[in-house]
């Protein structure tokens, strides 16, 4: 068996990759384009611009980790590859935020689900935000191009039992289900996507666009935090950045100034609004950081009669959209049903509890199955989203109040998940709510869910999809960038990440980010050549 580690080979061949921790003196560098962020948006932008002949500098706050570091260990991966060592939450601590912080961003740690933006979502954007140019027909070639670039196709092996329980339950109840397209090439079906793919099978930014950009003379700083964009009259002149020590979190005193003709911000739906706010860029209608969406996720776990081994096998291979658009695009809150992988630390963090009871819960892990519901937020006036603001130290923070509209959707999802698990033969089901017991039949579970108080903290909530905060739209009074990601008020600034979505997506967002970034980067390349 031969191993082709593109990163190790590239570094050997002289890629221009600079580790911020090794910098000892302040310095200045210059390029045609400076890109902040190396995830789905930044990587795509860098590759397209570098291949078009522009000089590109990529800036990443997290560090460069690759195959040599991916040892299928939760604790080291959560500490190094995720934002705030996997402790990031919303302002009140009620929603856990899973988000990557490394070269490749969240694409390095996501579970590889690759969905096109649903037609309903694109049509809603056209109607509501004047984004008619993003119609399903207009976007189709961009999705297709990115599906090829990232080797996305429906998973062609059998789903693991964890996922198959979702399929079986849906079958029994007459709910629709489908097979999830994944961005993998030669996948070993191990189950460790969330801690950095150990085999390089995952075709995230780390294995595709980042090497593509670096092969075409782009340079990349990692361990370098973008502090602020500095304006000179009506244009951005430079980016000021701070180097981080090798622990990835302690700033050193070294600063780097990066100058460019054009700047692309792709630092995530929390990081990008944060950078724009810190930079005090023109924002006459105070839109930056507003309408932040997260696909609020709640969960249910089941104890199955057969061994599930939910830690092995492709983490996500089956989904159901039965309830996603059931009430129309802008009716009562819809949700997508999926399955999460369960390794010991993840399970210990998700299943609330302590003492002998918790020891017993976790001893049952090999028989544990879980379903999650991703609520589609932002399509209704009672789902206005959250707000990204700055802490006193300048770091960004998301405040996300859960509205009654969303609580209703989350309660409805509790019912659906428990019903599906019992239909698939679960012995017991427990909802991820502080008041939930284990229930041994659907009627008991239903009666208990009727009584749940739907409140922050008591309902265990998660998000792995951060969107919005620099919304695109045709009207500058209610958006930050136009339909090409171009800033309404600063001519040499674009935003190319999930922060430009004016609502949530209604599906795992990586392909939506790749496709829009590809479209907007091709346009940017034409513009810069002109």
């Amino acid at each position: 068996m031969s191993f082709s580690d593109r990163i190790a080979q590239g570094l050997e061949s002289g890629w221009k990759v600079i580790d911020g921790a090794t910098l000892t003196e302040n310095h200045t560098a210059e390029a045609d384009v400076v890109i902040v962020g190396t995830g789905a948006g930044g990587g795509t932008t860098a590759e397209i611009l570098a291949k078009s002949g522009f000089s590109v500098i990529l800036v990443e706050e997290g560090r460069l980790y690759y195959q040599k570091d991916f040892k299928m260990d939760e604790l080291t991966s959560y500490a190094n590859l995720y934002q705030e060592g996997m402790s990031r939450t919303t302002k009140d601590g009620a929603i856990a935020i899973l988000q990557g912080r490394c070269v490749g961003g969240s694409t390095t740690v996501n579970w590889t689900s690759s969905f096109r933006t649903p037609d309903e979502t694109l049509n809603y954007w056209g109607k509501r935000f004047g984004l008619d140019a993003l119609s399903p027909a207009a976007m189709a070639p961009w999705f297709e191009g990115r599906e090829t670039r990232h080797s996305m196709s429906p998973w062609n092996m059998d789903p693991n039992l964890n996922n198959d329980v979702l399929r079986q339950g849906c079958e029994k109840l007459g709910f629709s289900w489908q097979i999830i397209p994944r961005n993998v090439k030669g996948c070993w079906n191990l189950g460790y996507c969330g801690v950095g793919c150990p085999t390089n099978a995952k075709q995230g930014a780390l294995m595709t666009t980042i090497p593509g950009a670096l092969d075409n003379n782009a340079s990349m700083y990692h361990g370098l935090r973008a502090e602020r964009l500095v304006m000179n009259q009506d244009r951005i002149e430079s980016l000021e950045a701070t180097a981080m020590a090798s622990d990835g979190i302690t700033p050193t005193r070294v600063t780097v100034t990066l100058k460019a003709k054009h700047f692309v911000v792709a630092a995530s739906a929390i990081g990008s609004p944060g950078l724009l706010l810190r930079s005090k860029l023109p924002d006459p209608y105070e839109r930056v950081g507003k309408r932040s969406f997260i696909h609020p996720v709640n969960a249910s776990v089941a104890q199955m009669p057969k061994l599930v081994d939910p830690f092995y096998g492709a983490p996500q291979s089956i989904y159901s959209d039965e309830f996603n658009f059931r009430n129309g695009v802008d009716g009562e809150a819809g949700y997508k049903l999926e399955v999460p992988p369960l390794h010991p630390a993840m399970s210990a963090g998700v299943v609330p509890g302590h003492g002998d009871e918790q020891a017993k819960n976790l001893a049952g892990l090999p028989w544990m199955q879980s379903v999650i519901a991703l609520v589609r937020d932002g399509f209704h006036e009672d789902s206005p989203g959250g707000t990204v603001s700055l802490r006193a130290d300048g770091s960004p923070m998301l405040d996300y109040p859960v509205s009654d509209y969303l609580w209703k959707g989350l309660r409805s999802a509790f019912y659906t998940m428990a019903e599906i698990q019992f239909a698939a033969g679960a012995d017991k089901v427990r909802l991820m709510h502080l008041d939930s017991d284990w229930y041994s039949n659907w009627a008991d579970a239903k009666a208990a869910i009727d009584r749940f108080s739907m409140e922050p903290h008591r309902v265990r909530l998660f998000t792995a999809h951060q969107m919005g905060g620099c919304a695109m739209g045709s009207n500058p009074e209610e958006s930050v960038v136009n339909g090409f990601g171009e800033h309404h008020h600063v001519s040499n600034l674009s935003v190319h990440d999930a922060s430009i979505f004016p609502t949530s997506i209604g599906a795992n967002p990586q392909l939506s980010v790749y496709a829009l970034a590809a479209r907007n980067s091709s346009r940017l390349a034409q513009r810069l050549k002109a």
Binding site: G85, R88, A345, H354
Partner: protein, 211 residues
Amino acid sequence: MTDPLTPSEGLDALSLDRRSFLRTGLGGALFLGTVSVTAGLSGCATAPAGRLGAVAPRMDARYQFQFLSADDIELLEALLPAILGSALPEQANNRRIAIAGTVERIDMGIHKFGPANQKELRQLFDLLNFSLTRVTIARVWPAWRDATTEQADAFLQRWRSSSIGLFNSGYMALTKISNVAFYGYQENWQLSGYPGPPDWAVKALPQFRKA
């Protein structure tokens, strides 16, 4: 770490439950927000324990604590038997080693949380360590080093079942950092029936080969 003279920004985080706190008659969020300040000024050991200190004999002398203070370590030593229950070994020496190792891994994890969440945890730990708030808010009468596992468990149950969101949040923070650090550790994988990464894959992958 926490600047004791800066009005804590946690006041913001606490304000969500301000009304609930006022209803409890505990003096409101302002009182809570000043705990870190008071604890800092009164010389409570909120500096990282480093390698030395009162808890040294029970900890691995080689480990350098980066966040947890000597008081925090005593607090965790009191809470972990209640949080981990029967998952902890019974034999005294093994139990001591398991608790000490978990405390170290909690410290390593918190170091990677970064400044903002460290600040939040500093407030939580100070609130629990400061005797006045330990008694009035956590309702634990003895110092943590003298608290029984039953008292620690009763405290956790109160915060879990409380109708005050902030207490639920404190319960989740304490149990989550402990459970993740404990069950996620390779030597404890067997407690959740997890065999670890498949052997065949480990044997086939270059990153596991000894250089």
